[in-house]
């Protein structure tokens, strides 16, 4: 089937099998490998991207459902050479170690901050419920999101 989608401000029209997932379009067809796969049951959040402005798990969206959508991935949030404040805050606060959860975590965190007024540390913890990190114990991730929301 044909799908048309805009990824990081570039239009793509692709011919893919019906059972293709958005994550597969990104990783296998568009070589945007910053979107990761960490589970098969839609829990870990390594695959989170934005679709029409909202964070979603790209491993649980069909290509057909993304037809016509605007998708933003971790590769698309920096403004030219300038990092997104959330990226900056993650680096600044050592909010990542192996980096595998990081793209999904950053994409979730951006949506979380954009969709809410000033969040408390506890609200950030609850708001990142859909993202696992096995390395950081989340402490520095929470710090990073607190810092980024001041900049966003």
């Amino acid at each position: 089937m044909a799908v048309k989608l805009n990824v990081n401000s570039v239009e793509h029209t692709l011919e893919v099998p019906s059972n293709t997932l958005l994550s597969e379009i990104l990783r296998d067809h568009l070589n945007l490998t910053g979107t990761h796969i960490g589970c098969d049951t839609s829990q870990c959040g390594a695959c989170v991207v934005h679709m029409d402005g909202k964070s979603i798990k790209s491993c649980t969206v069909l290509a057909a459902q993304a037809d016509g959508a605007d998708v933003t991935t971790i590769e698309g949030i920096a403004n030219g050479g300038e990092l997104h404040p959330m990226q900056e805050a993650f680096r600044n606060n050592h909010a990542l170690q192996c980096g595998f959860c990081t793209p999904g975590m950053i994409m979730s965190a951006i949506d979380l901050v954009q969709s809410n007024d000033k969040l408390s540390a506890q609200e950030i913890r609850e708001g990142l419920d859909g993202n696992f990190c096995r390395c950081t114990g989340y402490h520095n991730i929470v710090k990073a999101v607190l810092e980024a929301q001041e900049q966003m």
Binding site: G34, T35, Q97, F100, R125, R134, G137, Y138
Partner: protein, 783 residues
């Protein structure tokens, strides 16, 4: 020299630039032209004979390229997956290591064990093929429980009573005597729950064979690519060592699970050679649950003898350690040399005896998981000590202090074969008591009580041995590999530096920390240092990263290579400065002749080394590049004090961590920011073990019940508190940096602190772990 990027500075990490922009390059991000996809057929049974496998339907599946079974690997003389550490039983006999063909041939011994593999043009086709395989299994009775393993049906022909070994350490008679004379004895039965590592990147492998050269390349998610290569070459016979290059690119967390050599990458690289096409496999999460070596799983009875003064006089420990179905790569060392040797903890207990039976069950193999043996040891010691304090009605901090090895007793030889080089346990405990405001605990407890909640406080003063370790000691104790580390420093013509290490970073930030070391040592900008790791094609040899060894062993190797560079630099500088090399000093990035006070920058000397116009080449080779192998003189002994405070809702059984304080002594610290991060991550895993995580097999079917995130409870952000983390410093006495290592401490110390807090809150001696809501609820109402 302390600068913004030197030793001791919280330098922001170099590697983050790629990770935060999605440019990390993990194994599954790599694709090769004409690549195929491999899917394994895995056993649905815990224990079964394979009477036959019909491959025809799989072969006929569209897109399928090839289908193989264990027999095909055997026909190519692919060997067993070995266990690299020989442990001997009490009676001097060798441990029993059953045959472990990468792909099961006659029998499957745990749910998820691969028995066939399907390679196809697409992942879907490979999966279709794997589903089409029809195997005829004859189901056998399975053994699942650690405690009862020795009386269950025998799994391996050569392992009667399902026992691999029956090991001991310490003086039994002296210990028994200590118990005979004890004023008080504290006893505990402890089950250390099975854990599943769950790095967020699942394991993956991509194999390539170049028929024109006969060379193999394996990209894989390994913590130690050289060891992987060694084992695949020497034991498994995949290819000669020199013909096999193992690359582990960015790796998304390991925690031990990516140390080992598994069936999957073996099959991948073998199949790539067989087919002459690249072969790729990426574990689905379910496969990770079923097949990544699990952690812990001990059943222990432990007793502590105490005299009238509250001094510990003896410790007696008897443990059954579950090995799973086979001995994984380093499995045998975990419940022995990484466990029994740590049972002295931070205390002067003079008599210790430990015996460990390693048993086989029809479950996934168990091997090193963050801390490996040391969390289990800490758990035994610290649960006992806390319980003793309660039984004796003593302040648990006071009882510990009374028994600490005093700071002037170092080096201290324990009764369980280790010599601690240095430490000061009291100052860490004091600092932790202060940070946790233990003085204010009682009022916080009454406040909780007024809200119908129960509050508890728990301590854990752990010690670990890391920086694994002197090769000769380890080899004499059964290790099959050396435990040194290699490093190479290549100074470029322009004075920039490539540092190549045999350590491996999968989150630890070596590219930053090691660059700090080099930039500090050479007085050159941090930015001009490039750190290379994870590729057997680029570094000579390496033992990789585990056991918190990177900075202590890998960093020290780098320092040795740096010393060699400076020594040679001095020789060159002496010629350039018309001085004598003994008169040349190197400091702050300059070679200075003491006699004339003239000096040259590091870069100038580097340039001269490669444009050798002014030194005699018959005496001195051109170039500036050095290698070093560093073998430590001892383990390092990080230690610390953890304090956990919990609040429990007795109505729902929910335990909340009200605060967690960790004060650790890691010796000198190169990058405090990274060290804190390592502690945070370890704490999350240790707390996870205490409250959430549990790998459970169905007692009847042998299925892994916790085979997905729907059932295995991973710590999430809102399960955890903000951590209070601090350090004290007693520098390691036997490595050039005075460092000890920090990767596992969080996971080693914290579990006991949490369980001590939970039992304190509930006013009970013991309770099962993890302290899930239902368990807590039952204990709280006395059921």
């Amino acid at each position: 020299m302390t600068t913004e990027t030197g030793i001791g500075a919280s330098v922001k990490r170099k590697e983050d630039a790629r990770f935060i922009t999605g440019k990390g390059r993990y194994t599954d991000d790599i694709n090769l032209v004409n690549q195929t996809y491999l899917v394994f057929a895995r056993s649905p049974y815990a224990h079964a004979k394979i009477n036959g496998i019909d491959l025809e339907p799989a072969k006929a599946t569209p897109g399928v390229v090839a289908v193989f079974t264990g027999k095909d690997l055997a026909a190519d003389e692919i060997g067993d997956l070995p266990c690299g550490w020989m442990v001997k039983s009490k009676d001097g006999s060798d441990m029993i290591s059953p045959s472990h063909p990468p792909i099961a041939i006659d029998k499957v011994n745990y749910v998820g064990e691969p028995y066939a593999l399907v390679i196809a043009d697409t992942p879907d086709a490979a999966r279709n093929g794997a589903e089409a395989i029809e195997a005829n299994f004859e189901v056998l009775e399975a053994v699942l429980s650690t405690a009862d393993a020795t009386s269950g049906p025998q799994i391996h022909e050569n392992a009667p009573n399902n026992r691999s070994y029956d090991w001991e350490l310490g003086d039994k008679d002296a210990t028994d005597t200590a118990f005979d004379n004890a004023a008080h004895i504290t006893k505990l039965d402890i089950v250390n729950n099975r854990l599943i590592p769950n790095a967020i990147e699942t394991r993956a492998a991509l194999g390539d064979f170049d028929s024109s050269t006969g060379n193999y390349t394996l990209y894989t998610t390994s913590q130690n690519p050289h060891v992987e290569r060694l084992i695949l070459a020497a034991f498994v016979n995949v290819a000669p060592e020199a013909r096999l290059r193992v690359i582990s690119p960015d790796v998304g967390g390991g925690f031990g699970s990516k140390i080992f050599v598994y069936a999957e990458e073996t099959a991948v690289i073998w199949a790539a050679g067989k087919l002459g096409r690249p072969v790729k496999w990426r574990a689905e999460r379910t496969e990770s649950f079923l097949g990544d070596a699990h952690g812990r799983d001990h059943v222990t009875h432990a007793e502590l003898a105490i005299d009238d003064d509250g001094k510990f006089t003896g410790l007696r420990v008897s443990t059954k350690a579950n090995m799973g179905a086979y001995l994984s790569t380093f499995a045998s060392s975990v419940p022995t040399y990484l466990y029994g040797t740590l049972l002295a903890g931070q205390y002067t207990t003079p008599n210790i005896y430990v015996e460990v039976q390693a048993v086989f069950t029809n479950t996934c193999s168990v091997d090193a998981y963050r801390g490996a043996g040391r969390p289990e040891a800490t758990f035994v010691v610290e649960r006992l000590v806390e319980t003793a304090a309660r039984e004796l009605n003593m302040d648990p901090a006071e009882l510990r202090r009374k028994n600490f090895i005093p700071p002037d007793a170092f080096p201290y030889e324990t009764p369980v074969a280790l010599t601690y080089d240095t430490g000061n346990y009291g100052i860490s405990l004091d600092k932790a008591l202060d940070l946790a405001d233990v003085a204010g605990f009682e009022s916080r407890r009454s406040d909780s009580e007024s809200r119908g909640k129960k509050r508890g406080l728990g301590y854990s003063c752990y010690i670990e041995a890391c920086g694994l370790a002197p090769s000769q000691v380890a080899i004499s104790l059964g290790a099959g590999v050396g435990l040194f580390e290699s490093a190479e420093i290549r100074v470029d013509v322009t004075g920039s530096v490539t540092a190549i290490t045999g350590s491996h970073s999968h989150g630890q930030g070596h590219e930053t920390t090691f660059a700090q070391l080099i930039s500090d040592r050479f007085g050159i900008p941090f930015e001009s240092v490039d750190v290379v790791h994870g590729d057997t094609g680029r570094s000579d040899y390496g033992l990789g990263t585990y056991g918190s060894r990177s900075i202590a062993v890998g960093g020290s190797a780098l320092m040795s290579a740096a010393d060699k560079i400076i020594a040679k630099g001095k020789k060159i500088a002496a010629h350039m400065l018309n001085s004598n090399e003994d008169n040349v000093d190197f400091a702050d990035g300059r070679f200075t002749a003491a006699d004339t006070n003239e000096s040259l920058a590091f870069g100038e000397v580097a340039f001269s080394a490669y444009v050798p116009g002014n030194f005699p080449l018959e005496e001195l080779e051109p170039g500036l590049s050095e290698k070093a192998f560093y073998d430590p003189a001892n383990f390092t002994y990080p230690a610390g004090a953890h304090i956990c405070e919990v609040e429990i809702d007795p109505d729902t059984g929910v335990t909340e961590i009200a605060q967690f304080v960790a004060v650790d002594d890691f010796g000198n610290v190169i990058n405090p920011m990274i060290v804190e991060g390592q502690v945070h991550g370890g704490l999350a895993q240790g707390i996870g073990q205490a409250l959430l995580e549990h790998g459970i097999y169905d007692a009847d079917s042998g299925n892994l019940i916790t085979g997905s995130y729907l059932d295995y409870a991973m710590p999430r952000a809102d399960h955890l508190p903000d951590f209070t983390v601090d350090t004290t410093v007693t520098p390691c006495t036997h490595n050039p940096l005075g460092v000890k290592g920090c990767g596992e401490a969080g996971a080693i110390g914290s579990t006991a602190a949490v369980m001590n807090a939970v039992t304190d809150a509930l006013g009970v001696i013991d309770m099962p772990m993890p302290a899930t809501p239902e368990t807590v609820w039952k204990v709280a109402r006395g059921a």
